[in-house]
Protein backbone atom coordinates (compact mmCIF):
# COMPACT_ATOMS: atom_id res chain seq x y z
CA UNK A 1 0.00 0.00 0.00
CA UNK A 2 1.57 3.30 -0.99
CA UNK A 3 0.59 6.77 0.04
CA UNK A 4 -0.57 7.46 -3.51
CA UNK A 5 -3.23 4.78 -3.16
CA UNK A 6 -4.48 6.45 0.01
CA UNK A 7 -4.18 10.03 -1.17
CA UNK A 8 -5.78 9.56 -4.57
CA UNK A 9 -6.53 12.55 -6.76
CA UNK A 10 -10.22 12.47 -5.82
CA UNK A 11 -9.38 12.71 -2.12
CA UNK A 12 -6.89 15.52 -2.65
CA UNK A 13 -9.43 17.36 -4.80
CA UNK A 14 -12.26 17.04 -2.26
CA UNK A 15 -9.87 18.18 0.48
CA UNK A 16 -8.81 21.22 -1.54
CA UNK A 17 -12.34 22.12 -2.62
CA UNK A 18 -14.83 20.47 -0.32
CA UNK A 19 -18.31 20.23 -1.85
CA UNK A 20 -21.35 21.53 0.04
CA UNK A 21 -19.07 23.11 2.61
CA UNK A 22 -21.52 25.52 4.23
CA UNK A 23 -23.97 26.04 7.07
CA UNK A 24 -27.64 25.24 6.58
CA UNK A 25 -30.26 27.39 8.30
CA UNK A 26 -33.21 25.23 7.31
CA UNK A 27 -31.70 21.87 8.32
CA UNK A 28 -34.27 19.36 9.56
CA UNK A 29 -31.51 17.17 11.01
CA UNK A 30 -28.02 17.94 12.22
CA UNK A 31 -25.26 16.44 14.34
CA UNK A 32 -21.74 17.24 15.46
CA UNK A 33 -18.79 14.88 15.10
CA UNK A 34 -15.62 15.35 17.12
CA UNK A 35 -12.43 13.32 17.35
CA UNK A 36 -10.63 15.14 20.12
CA UNK A 37 -7.35 13.21 19.81
CA UNK A 38 -7.12 14.26 16.15
CA UNK A 39 -8.72 17.64 16.60
CA UNK A 40 -11.19 16.78 13.83
CA UNK A 41 -14.53 18.54 14.20
CA UNK A 42 -17.45 18.68 11.81
CA UNK A 43 -21.07 19.80 11.81
CA UNK A 44 -23.27 17.91 9.42
CA UNK A 45 -26.63 19.25 8.20
CA UNK A 46 -29.46 17.47 6.40
CA UNK A 47 -32.72 18.83 5.06
CA UNK A 48 -35.12 15.94 4.66
CA UNK A 49 -38.59 16.24 3.15
CA UNK A 50 -40.90 13.25 2.70
CA UNK A 51 -38.06 10.82 3.36
CA UNK A 52 -35.80 12.36 0.71
CA UNK A 53 -32.55 14.20 1.45
CA UNK A 54 -33.14 17.49 -0.36
CA UNK A 55 -29.94 19.06 0.83
CA UNK A 56 -26.86 18.03 2.81
CA UNK A 57 -23.84 20.11 3.86
CA UNK A 58 -21.05 20.31 6.39
CA UNK A 59 -18.59 22.67 8.06
CA UNK A 60 -15.56 22.05 10.20
CA UNK A 61 -11.87 21.19 10.19
CA UNK A 62 -9.94 17.98 9.87
CA UNK A 63 -7.32 16.03 7.98
CA UNK A 64 -7.59 15.41 4.24
CA UNK A 65 -9.17 11.99 4.75
CA UNK A 66 -11.83 13.32 7.07
CA UNK A 67 -12.68 16.40 4.98
CA UNK A 68 -12.74 14.45 1.71
CA UNK A 69 -14.91 11.76 3.22
CA UNK A 70 -17.43 14.34 4.43
CA UNK A 71 -17.41 16.08 1.06
CA UNK A 72 -17.93 12.81 -0.81
CA UNK A 73 -20.76 11.97 1.58
CA UNK A 74 -22.64 15.14 0.73
CA UNK A 75 -22.25 14.49 -3.00
CA UNK A 76 -23.43 10.93 -2.65
CA UNK A 77 -26.46 11.52 -0.46
CA UNK A 78 -28.07 14.56 -2.02
CA UNK A 79 -31.38 13.51 -3.56
CA UNK A 80 -31.30 10.04 -2.03
CA UNK A 81 -33.92 8.61 0.31
CA UNK A 82 -33.20 8.14 4.00
CA UNK A 83 -33.43 4.38 3.43
CA UNK A 84 -30.76 4.62 0.72
CA UNK A 85 -28.59 6.75 3.00
CA UNK A 86 -28.73 4.14 5.76
CA UNK A 87 -27.83 1.38 3.31
CA UNK A 88 -24.88 3.37 1.94
CA UNK A 89 -23.78 4.14 5.50
CA UNK A 90 -23.62 0.40 6.23
CA UNK A 91 -21.68 -0.35 3.05
CA UNK A 92 -19.17 2.45 3.63
CA UNK A 93 -18.71 1.27 7.20
CA UNK A 94 -17.94 -2.26 6.00
CA UNK A 95 -15.60 -0.94 3.32
CA UNK A 96 -13.63 1.23 5.78
CA UNK A 97 -13.22 -1.57 8.28
CA UNK A 98 -12.31 -4.03 5.53
CA UNK A 99 -15.22 -6.31 6.43
CA UNK A 100 -16.38 -6.74 2.86
CA UNK A 101 -15.31 -6.13 -0.70
CA UNK A 102 -16.54 -2.90 -2.17
CA UNK A 103 -19.12 -3.06 -4.90
CA UNK A 104 -17.84 -0.18 -7.06
CA UNK A 105 -21.12 -0.04 -8.94
CA UNK A 106 -22.96 0.70 -5.73
CA UNK A 107 -20.45 3.03 -4.07
CA UNK A 108 -19.04 4.75 -7.15
CA UNK A 109 -16.61 7.51 -6.24
CA UNK A 110 -16.67 6.49 -2.58
CA UNK A 111 -14.51 3.52 -3.53
CA UNK A 112 -11.50 5.87 -3.33
CA UNK A 113 -11.86 5.59 0.43
CA UNK A 114 -11.30 1.84 0.29
CA UNK A 115 -7.52 2.27 0.75
CA UNK A 116 -8.14 3.63 4.24
CA UNK A 117 -8.70 0.18 5.73
CA UNK A 118 -4.99 -0.47 5.09
CA UNK A 119 -4.20 2.36 7.53
CA UNK A 120 -5.95 1.28 10.75
CA UNK A 121 -5.16 4.52 12.59
CA UNK A 122 -6.87 6.55 9.86
CA UNK A 123 -10.16 4.61 9.69
CA UNK A 124 -11.60 6.88 12.36
CA UNK A 125 -10.88 9.91 10.14
CA UNK A 126 -12.79 8.54 7.17
CA UNK A 127 -15.70 7.24 9.24
CA UNK A 128 -16.37 10.38 11.31
CA UNK A 129 -18.65 12.06 8.75
CA UNK A 130 -20.61 8.86 8.20
CA UNK A 131 -21.25 8.18 11.87
CA UNK A 132 -22.20 11.83 12.30
CA UNK A 133 -24.70 11.55 9.43
CA UNK A 134 -26.12 8.38 10.97
CA UNK A 135 -26.56 10.14 14.32
CA UNK A 136 -28.26 13.09 12.58
CA UNK A 137 -30.76 10.77 10.91
CA UNK A 138 -31.55 9.28 14.30
CA UNK A 139 -31.90 12.74 15.87
CA UNK A 140 -29.25 11.91 18.44
CA UNK A 141 -28.15 15.09 20.16
CA UNK A 142 -24.85 14.04 21.77
CA UNK A 143 -21.57 14.59 19.89
CA UNK A 144 -20.32 11.69 17.79
CA UNK A 145 -16.78 10.35 18.02
CA UNK A 146 -15.04 7.53 16.17
CA UNK A 147 -11.98 7.48 18.43
Amino acid sequence: MSMLELYQEVILDHNKSPRNFRDMDCASHKACGKNPLCGDELDLFLNIEDGVIQDVSFTGTGCAISVASASLLTEKLKGRTVTDAEAIYREVHMMLTGESDVDPAELGKLAVLSGVCQFPVRVKCASLAWHTMHAALQDRSEDVSTE
Binding site: M1, S2, M3, S17, C38, G39, C63, A64
Partner: protein, 415 residues
Protein backbone atom coordinates in the same frame (compact mmCIF):
# COMPACT_ATOMS: atom_id res chain seq x y z
CA UNK B 1 26.72 -7.31 23.55
CA UNK B 2 28.17 -3.95 22.57
CA UNK B 3 29.59 -1.90 25.39
CA UNK B 4 28.58 1.76 25.22
CA UNK B 5 31.16 4.18 23.89
CA UNK B 6 33.21 5.69 26.73
CA UNK B 7 32.48 9.35 27.39
CA UNK B 8 35.98 10.35 26.44
CA UNK B 9 35.71 8.83 22.95
CA UNK B 10 34.87 10.87 19.87
CA UNK B 11 31.14 10.88 19.30
CA UNK B 12 30.33 8.17 16.77
CA UNK B 13 26.67 7.92 15.91
CA UNK B 14 27.19 4.99 13.54
CA UNK B 15 28.71 3.07 16.43
CA UNK B 16 25.83 4.07 18.74
CA UNK B 17 23.26 2.96 16.18
CA UNK B 18 24.66 -0.56 16.44
CA UNK B 19 23.46 -0.62 20.03
CA UNK B 20 19.88 -0.25 18.77
CA UNK B 21 18.99 -3.20 16.52
CA UNK B 22 15.47 -1.87 15.90
CA UNK B 23 17.00 0.95 13.84
CA UNK B 24 18.08 -1.51 11.17
CA UNK B 25 14.55 -2.73 10.46
CA UNK B 26 12.41 -1.60 7.57
CA UNK B 27 9.04 0.16 7.67
CA UNK B 28 6.81 -0.15 4.59
CA UNK B 29 9.83 -1.42 2.69
CA UNK B 30 11.97 1.62 3.58
CA UNK B 31 14.75 1.91 6.16
CA UNK B 32 13.34 3.16 9.46
CA UNK B 33 14.11 6.78 10.32
CA UNK B 34 13.07 7.15 13.94
CA UNK B 35 12.35 10.75 14.93
CA UNK B 36 9.86 10.12 17.74
CA UNK B 37 12.09 9.79 20.79
CA UNK B 38 10.02 12.34 22.69
CA UNK B 39 7.19 9.77 22.65
CA UNK B 40 9.49 6.92 23.58
CA UNK B 41 13.18 6.26 23.09
CA UNK B 42 14.40 3.02 21.58
CA UNK B 43 16.22 0.61 23.88
CA UNK B 44 19.86 -0.37 23.51
CA UNK B 45 20.92 -4.01 23.66
CA UNK B 46 22.50 -3.44 27.08
CA UNK B 47 19.11 -2.52 28.58
CA UNK B 48 17.30 -5.43 26.95
CA UNK B 49 20.06 -7.80 28.07
CA UNK B 50 20.03 -6.52 31.65
CA UNK B 51 16.28 -7.19 31.90
CA UNK B 52 16.68 -10.56 30.22
CA UNK B 53 19.54 -11.59 32.50
CA UNK B 54 17.54 -10.58 35.56
CA UNK B 55 14.44 -12.45 34.38
CA UNK B 56 16.36 -15.58 33.47
CA UNK B 57 18.75 -15.81 36.41
CA UNK B 58 17.78 -13.63 39.39
CA UNK B 59 14.00 -13.27 39.35
CA UNK B 60 12.36 -13.35 42.78
CA UNK B 61 10.37 -10.97 44.94
CA UNK B 62 12.26 -8.26 46.78
CA UNK B 63 12.66 -7.31 50.45
CA UNK B 64 11.09 -10.42 51.94
CA UNK B 65 12.70 -13.69 50.99
CA UNK B 66 15.45 -15.35 52.94
CA UNK B 67 16.50 -17.33 49.93
CA UNK B 68 19.37 -16.39 47.64
CA UNK B 69 17.33 -15.39 44.62
CA UNK B 70 15.35 -12.91 46.71
CA UNK B 71 18.56 -11.43 48.02
CA UNK B 72 19.92 -11.12 44.49
CA UNK B 73 16.69 -9.54 43.26
CA UNK B 74 16.72 -7.09 46.16
CA UNK B 75 20.32 -6.24 45.43
CA UNK B 76 19.55 -5.63 41.76
CA UNK B 77 16.50 -3.50 42.57
CA UNK B 78 18.24 -1.44 45.23
CA UNK B 79 21.33 -1.25 43.03
CA UNK B 80 19.19 0.42 40.37
CA UNK B 81 17.90 2.88 42.96
CA UNK B 82 21.47 3.82 43.84
CA UNK B 83 22.25 4.33 40.15
CA UNK B 84 19.29 6.69 39.84
CA UNK B 85 20.35 8.54 43.00
CA UNK B 86 23.79 9.09 41.55
CA UNK B 87 22.32 10.04 38.15
CA UNK B 88 20.21 12.80 39.76
CA UNK B 89 22.82 13.60 42.40
CA UNK B 90 20.21 13.16 45.13
CA UNK B 91 21.49 13.20 48.71
CA UNK B 92 20.03 9.81 49.62
CA UNK B 93 18.32 6.76 48.15
CA UNK B 94 15.52 7.54 50.59
CA UNK B 95 14.60 10.32 48.16
CA UNK B 96 14.30 8.02 45.12
CA UNK B 97 10.86 6.43 44.70
CA UNK B 98 10.19 3.93 41.93
CA UNK B 99 6.84 4.49 40.24
CA UNK B 100 5.26 3.50 36.92
CA UNK B 101 6.28 6.69 35.16
CA UNK B 102 6.07 10.46 35.25
CA UNK B 103 2.28 10.40 35.33
CA UNK B 104 2.17 8.21 38.42
CA UNK B 105 4.90 10.30 40.07
CA UNK B 106 2.83 13.47 39.66
CA UNK B 107 -0.32 11.71 40.82
CA UNK B 108 1.57 10.53 43.90
CA UNK B 109 2.50 14.11 44.77
CA UNK B 110 -0.97 15.47 44.05
CA UNK B 111 -2.61 12.77 46.14
CA UNK B 112 -0.18 12.68 49.06
CA UNK B 113 1.39 16.13 49.30
CA UNK B 114 -1.61 17.77 47.66
CA UNK B 115 -4.32 16.28 49.81
CA UNK B 116 -2.42 16.88 53.05
CA UNK B 117 -1.05 20.36 52.32
CA UNK B 118 -3.43 22.01 49.89
CA UNK B 119 -6.89 23.20 50.85
CA UNK B 120 -9.78 25.39 49.72
CA UNK B 121 -8.63 28.72 48.31
CA UNK B 122 -4.99 27.62 48.11
CA UNK B 123 -3.27 28.06 44.76
CA UNK B 124 -1.32 25.69 42.55
CA UNK B 125 0.75 27.27 39.78
CA UNK B 126 1.27 25.34 36.55
CA UNK B 127 2.53 26.59 33.19
CA UNK B 128 0.81 26.78 29.82
CA UNK B 129 3.50 24.45 28.46
CA UNK B 130 2.43 21.46 30.54
CA UNK B 131 1.63 17.98 29.29
CA UNK B 132 -1.84 16.82 30.36
CA UNK B 133 -0.17 14.67 33.03
CA UNK B 134 0.99 17.81 34.81
CA UNK B 135 -2.41 19.50 34.50
CA UNK B 136 -5.11 16.93 35.11
CA UNK B 137 -3.86 15.60 38.50
CA UNK B 138 -3.87 19.21 39.76
CA UNK B 139 -7.34 19.86 38.35
CA UNK B 140 -8.55 16.72 40.13
CA UNK B 141 -6.92 17.92 43.35
CA UNK B 142 -8.50 21.35 42.90
CA UNK B 143 -11.88 19.71 42.44
CA UNK B 144 -11.45 17.64 45.60
CA UNK B 145 -10.13 20.42 47.79
CA UNK B 146 -11.44 23.70 46.40
CA UNK B 147 -7.91 24.82 45.52
CA UNK B 148 -7.38 27.05 42.50
CA UNK B 149 -5.17 26.40 39.49
CA UNK B 150 -3.17 29.42 38.23
CA UNK B 151 -1.47 29.25 34.85
CA UNK B 152 1.79 30.91 33.79
CA UNK B 153 1.14 32.40 30.32
CA UNK B 154 3.46 31.92 27.37
CA UNK B 155 4.52 33.96 24.36
CA UNK B 156 3.91 33.03 20.72
CA UNK B 157 7.49 31.78 20.61
CA UNK B 158 6.67 29.24 23.31
CA UNK B 159 8.55 30.86 26.19
CA UNK B 160 6.96 31.36 29.59
CA UNK B 161 6.28 34.91 30.74
CA UNK B 162 8.69 35.16 33.67
CA UNK B 163 7.29 38.43 34.92
CA UNK B 164 3.76 37.05 35.00
CA UNK B 165 5.10 33.97 36.77
CA UNK B 166 6.58 36.03 39.56
CA UNK B 167 3.35 37.93 39.94
CA UNK B 168 1.43 34.67 40.33
CA UNK B 169 3.45 33.64 43.37
CA UNK B 170 1.80 34.72 46.60
CA UNK B 171 1.06 33.69 50.15
CA UNK B 172 -1.70 31.31 49.00
CA UNK B 173 0.53 29.46 46.51
CA UNK B 174 1.22 25.97 47.84
CA UNK B 175 3.05 24.41 44.90
CA UNK B 176 4.55 25.19 41.50
CA UNK B 177 4.34 22.29 39.00
CA UNK B 178 6.50 22.98 35.99
CA UNK B 179 7.87 21.11 33.01
CA UNK B 180 11.64 21.15 32.50
CA UNK B 181 11.34 20.78 28.70
CA UNK B 182 8.09 21.12 26.74
CA UNK B 183 7.23 17.92 24.90
CA UNK B 184 5.21 19.82 22.29
CA UNK B 185 7.44 22.80 21.47
CA UNK B 186 10.86 21.84 22.81
CA UNK B 187 11.07 24.87 25.12
CA UNK B 188 13.71 24.47 27.82
CA UNK B 189 12.38 26.35 30.83
CA UNK B 190 14.78 28.25 33.08
CA UNK B 191 13.79 25.92 35.91
CA UNK B 192 16.65 26.81 38.23
CA UNK B 193 15.69 30.49 38.27
CA UNK B 194 12.00 29.67 38.50
CA UNK B 195 12.61 27.37 41.46
CA UNK B 196 14.64 30.09 43.19
CA UNK B 197 11.79 32.56 42.66
CA UNK B 198 9.29 30.14 44.20
CA UNK B 199 11.60 29.42 47.11
CA UNK B 200 11.74 33.13 47.95
CA UNK B 201 8.10 32.59 48.95
CA UNK B 202 8.90 29.17 50.47
CA UNK B 203 6.83 27.49 47.79
CA UNK B 204 7.94 23.96 46.81
CA UNK B 205 8.42 23.15 43.13
CA UNK B 206 7.73 19.93 41.25
CA UNK B 207 9.61 19.57 37.98
CA UNK B 208 8.27 17.28 35.25
CA UNK B 209 11.52 15.99 33.80
CA UNK B 210 10.05 13.45 31.36
CA UNK B 211 11.47 15.27 28.34
CA UNK B 212 14.68 16.42 30.00
CA UNK B 213 16.58 13.52 31.55
CA UNK B 214 17.66 12.03 28.22
CA UNK B 215 18.90 15.35 26.89
CA UNK B 216 20.57 17.26 29.69
CA UNK B 217 22.37 16.49 32.94
CA UNK B 218 20.00 16.85 35.87
CA UNK B 219 21.33 17.61 39.35
CA UNK B 220 18.42 17.91 41.75
CA UNK B 221 20.57 19.57 44.40
CA UNK B 222 21.93 22.11 41.96
CA UNK B 223 18.41 22.80 40.64
CA UNK B 224 17.22 22.85 44.25
CA UNK B 225 13.88 21.35 43.17
CA UNK B 226 11.58 19.70 45.70
CA UNK B 227 10.20 16.99 43.43
CA UNK B 228 11.54 15.74 40.10
CA UNK B 229 9.64 13.18 38.02
CA UNK B 230 10.69 11.17 34.97
CA UNK B 231 9.94 8.00 33.01
CA UNK B 232 12.34 5.19 32.15
CA UNK B 233 11.08 4.77 28.60
CA UNK B 234 12.10 8.28 27.59
CA UNK B 235 15.63 7.56 28.87
CA UNK B 236 16.33 4.47 26.73
CA UNK B 237 14.86 2.26 29.48
CA UNK B 238 11.74 0.11 29.73
CA UNK B 239 8.13 1.29 29.92
CA UNK B 240 6.25 0.92 33.20
CA UNK B 241 9.08 2.21 35.39
CA UNK B 242 9.78 5.77 36.41
CA UNK B 243 11.11 7.82 39.26
CA UNK B 244 9.91 10.42 41.69
CA UNK B 245 12.69 12.27 43.45
CA UNK B 246 11.41 14.03 46.55
CA UNK B 247 13.25 16.12 49.11
CA UNK B 248 13.53 13.88 52.16
CA UNK B 249 11.95 16.29 54.65
CA UNK B 250 8.91 16.69 52.40
CA UNK B 251 8.52 12.95 51.79
CA UNK B 252 8.85 12.26 55.53
CA UNK B 253 5.99 14.62 56.26
CA UNK B 254 3.75 13.24 53.51
CA UNK B 255 1.20 10.49 54.17
CA UNK B 256 1.41 7.29 52.11
CA UNK B 257 -0.66 7.30 48.94
CA UNK B 258 -1.32 3.63 48.24
CA UNK B 259 -1.56 1.07 51.01
CA UNK B 260 -0.48 -2.55 50.87
CA UNK B 261 2.52 -4.81 51.26
CA UNK B 262 6.06 -3.45 51.45
CA UNK B 263 4.94 0.02 52.55
CA UNK B 264 4.28 -1.03 56.16
CA UNK B 265 6.49 -1.62 59.18
CA UNK B 266 3.80 -3.62 60.99
CA UNK B 267 0.09 -4.25 60.55
CA UNK B 268 -2.46 -5.06 63.18
CA UNK B 269 -6.20 -4.48 63.40
CA UNK B 270 -5.48 -2.04 66.18
CA UNK B 271 -3.31 0.02 63.84
CA UNK B 272 -0.57 0.01 61.23
CA UNK B 273 2.78 1.71 61.21
CA UNK B 274 4.28 2.66 57.90
CA UNK B 275 7.63 1.67 56.53
CA UNK B 276 10.47 4.16 56.23
CA UNK B 277 11.42 5.99 53.04
CA UNK B 278 11.43 5.19 50.23
CA UNK B 279 9.30 2.08 50.88
CA UNK B 280 6.46 4.05 52.45
CA UNK B 281 5.56 5.06 48.89
CA UNK B 282 6.12 1.70 47.20
CA UNK B 283 3.08 -0.40 48.06
CA UNK B 284 2.93 -3.84 46.49
CA UNK B 285 5.49 -5.76 44.49
CA UNK B 286 7.31 -3.20 42.36
CA UNK B 287 8.39 -3.44 38.73
CA UNK B 288 11.67 -5.09 39.65
CA UNK B 289 12.98 -6.00 36.22
CA UNK B 290 11.85 -2.57 34.96
CA UNK B 291 14.01 -0.94 37.64
CA UNK B 292 16.92 -3.15 36.62
CA UNK B 293 16.40 -2.04 33.00
CA UNK B 294 16.27 1.59 34.09
CA UNK B 295 19.55 1.11 35.97
CA UNK B 296 21.12 -0.23 32.78
CA UNK B 297 19.70 2.73 30.83
CA UNK B 298 21.28 5.14 33.31
CA UNK B 299 24.59 3.30 32.83
CA UNK B 300 24.17 3.63 29.07
CA UNK B 301 23.59 7.39 28.96
CA UNK B 302 26.27 8.03 31.60
CA UNK B 303 28.78 6.09 29.52
CA UNK B 304 27.94 8.26 26.51
CA UNK B 305 28.03 11.32 28.74
CA UNK B 306 25.15 13.76 29.13
CA UNK B 307 27.29 16.65 27.93
CA UNK B 308 28.27 14.82 24.77
CA UNK B 309 24.61 13.84 24.23
CA UNK B 310 23.48 17.44 24.69
CA UNK B 311 26.10 18.69 22.21
CA UNK B 312 25.17 16.04 19.62
CA UNK B 313 21.46 16.79 19.92
CA UNK B 314 21.89 20.57 19.90
CA UNK B 315 23.79 20.16 16.64
CA UNK B 316 20.98 18.03 15.18
CA UNK B 317 18.22 20.41 16.32
CA UNK B 318 20.06 23.45 14.92
CA UNK B 319 20.40 21.62 11.63
CA UNK B 320 16.73 20.57 11.65
CA UNK B 321 15.53 24.10 12.37
CA UNK B 322 17.82 25.48 9.63
CA UNK B 323 16.63 22.92 7.06
CA UNK B 324 12.95 23.44 7.91
CA UNK B 325 13.38 27.22 7.74
CA UNK B 326 14.59 26.91 4.15
CA UNK B 327 11.24 25.54 2.99
CA UNK B 328 8.76 28.32 2.24
CA UNK B 329 5.56 26.58 3.23
CA UNK B 330 6.95 25.16 6.49
CA UNK B 331 6.07 27.05 9.64
CA UNK B 332 7.90 26.32 12.88
CA UNK B 333 5.54 26.11 15.83
CA UNK B 334 7.38 27.49 18.81
CA UNK B 335 10.75 29.18 18.50
CA UNK B 336 11.87 29.10 22.12
CA UNK B 337 14.95 30.91 23.37
CA UNK B 338 16.48 27.56 24.37
CA UNK B 339 15.40 24.37 22.63
CA UNK B 340 15.74 20.75 23.67
CA UNK B 341 14.63 17.45 22.20
CA UNK B 342 11.94 18.39 19.70
CA UNK B 343 10.80 20.66 16.88
CA UNK B 344 7.12 21.18 16.01
CA UNK B 345 6.08 22.39 12.58
CA UNK B 346 3.24 22.71 10.08
CA UNK B 347 3.24 22.58 6.29
CA UNK B 348 0.84 25.09 4.75
CA UNK B 349 -2.72 23.97 5.50
CA UNK B 350 -1.86 20.29 5.53
CA UNK B 351 -3.22 18.51 8.57
CA UNK B 352 -0.39 17.00 10.66
CA UNK B 353 -2.02 13.55 10.51
CA UNK B 354 -1.70 13.60 6.73
CA UNK B 355 1.96 14.63 7.09
CA UNK B 356 2.49 11.80 9.59
CA UNK B 357 0.87 9.16 7.37
CA UNK B 358 2.81 10.20 4.27
CA UNK B 359 6.12 10.25 6.14
CA UNK B 360 5.28 6.86 7.63
CA UNK B 361 4.94 5.49 4.09
CA UNK B 362 8.52 6.69 3.60
CA UNK B 363 9.68 4.87 6.73
CA UNK B 364 9.93 8.11 8.75
CA UNK B 365 8.39 8.00 12.23
CA UNK B 366 7.33 11.35 13.66
CA UNK B 367 4.48 12.33 15.96
CA UNK B 368 1.40 14.14 14.69
CA UNK B 369 -1.26 15.47 17.00
CA UNK B 370 -1.74 17.68 20.02
CA UNK B 371 0.99 15.85 21.98
CA UNK B 372 -1.23 15.62 25.09
CA UNK B 373 -0.79 19.37 25.39
CA UNK B 374 -4.13 20.71 24.15
CA UNK B 375 -3.84 24.01 26.07
CA UNK B 376 -0.73 24.84 23.99
CA UNK B 377 -2.62 24.11 20.77
CA UNK B 378 -5.54 26.22 21.96
CA UNK B 379 -3.18 29.06 22.88
CA UNK B 380 -1.55 28.98 19.44
CA UNK B 381 -4.88 28.52 17.64
CA UNK B 382 -3.96 25.27 15.88
CA UNK B 383 -5.47 21.78 16.24
CA UNK B 384 -2.20 19.86 16.11
CA UNK B 385 1.40 19.90 14.95
CA UNK B 386 3.89 17.54 13.34
CA UNK B 387 6.76 16.96 15.74
CA UNK B 388 10.22 15.55 15.07
CA UNK B 389 12.30 14.65 18.10
CA UNK B 390 15.83 13.36 18.36
CA UNK B 391 17.90 10.93 20.37
CA UNK B 392 21.50 9.75 20.64
CA UNK B 393 21.13 7.56 17.55
CA UNK B 394 19.92 10.23 15.11
CA UNK B 395 22.04 11.72 12.35
CA UNK B 396 21.89 14.64 9.95
CA UNK B 397 21.04 12.05 7.31
CA UNK B 398 17.85 11.30 9.32
CA UNK B 399 17.00 15.00 9.24
CA UNK B 400 17.63 15.08 5.48
CA UNK B 401 15.29 12.10 5.03
CA UNK B 402 12.58 13.95 6.97
CA UNK B 403 13.00 17.26 5.19
CA UNK B 404 13.30 15.92 1.62
CA UNK B 405 9.62 14.95 1.08
CA UNK B 406 8.15 18.05 2.75
CA UNK B 407 8.04 20.35 -0.33
CA UNK B 408 6.35 17.53 -2.25
CA UNK B 409 3.75 17.13 0.50
CA UNK B 410 3.07 20.86 0.38
CA UNK B 411 2.60 20.73 -3.36
CA UNK B 412 0.37 17.68 -3.21
CA UNK B 413 -2.04 19.35 -0.79
CA UNK B 414 -1.78 22.93 -2.09
CA UNK B 415 -5.18 24.55 -2.18
Amino acid sequence: MNAPVPATAVWDTARIQQDFPILSREVHGKPLVYLDSAATTQRPVSVVEAVRKFDLTHNANVHRGVHLLSQEATQAYEGAREKVRRFLNAASVREILFVRGTTEAINLVSNSFGTSKIGAGDEIVVSSLEHHSNIVPWQMLAERTGAVLRVIPMSDSGDLDQEAYRELLNARTRLVALTHISNALGTVNPVREMIAAAHEHEIPVLVDGAQAVAHTAVDVRELDCDFYAFSGHKLYGPTGIGVLYGREALLEAMPPWQGGGDMIASVSFSGTTYNELPYKFEAGTPNISGAVGLGAAVDYVEALGLEAIAAHEADLLDYLVAQLSKIDCVRLIGEPAVRGGAVSFLIGDVHPHDIGTILDCEGIAIRAGHHCAQPIMERLGIPATARASVGVYNTKADIDSLVAPLPQIAEMFAR
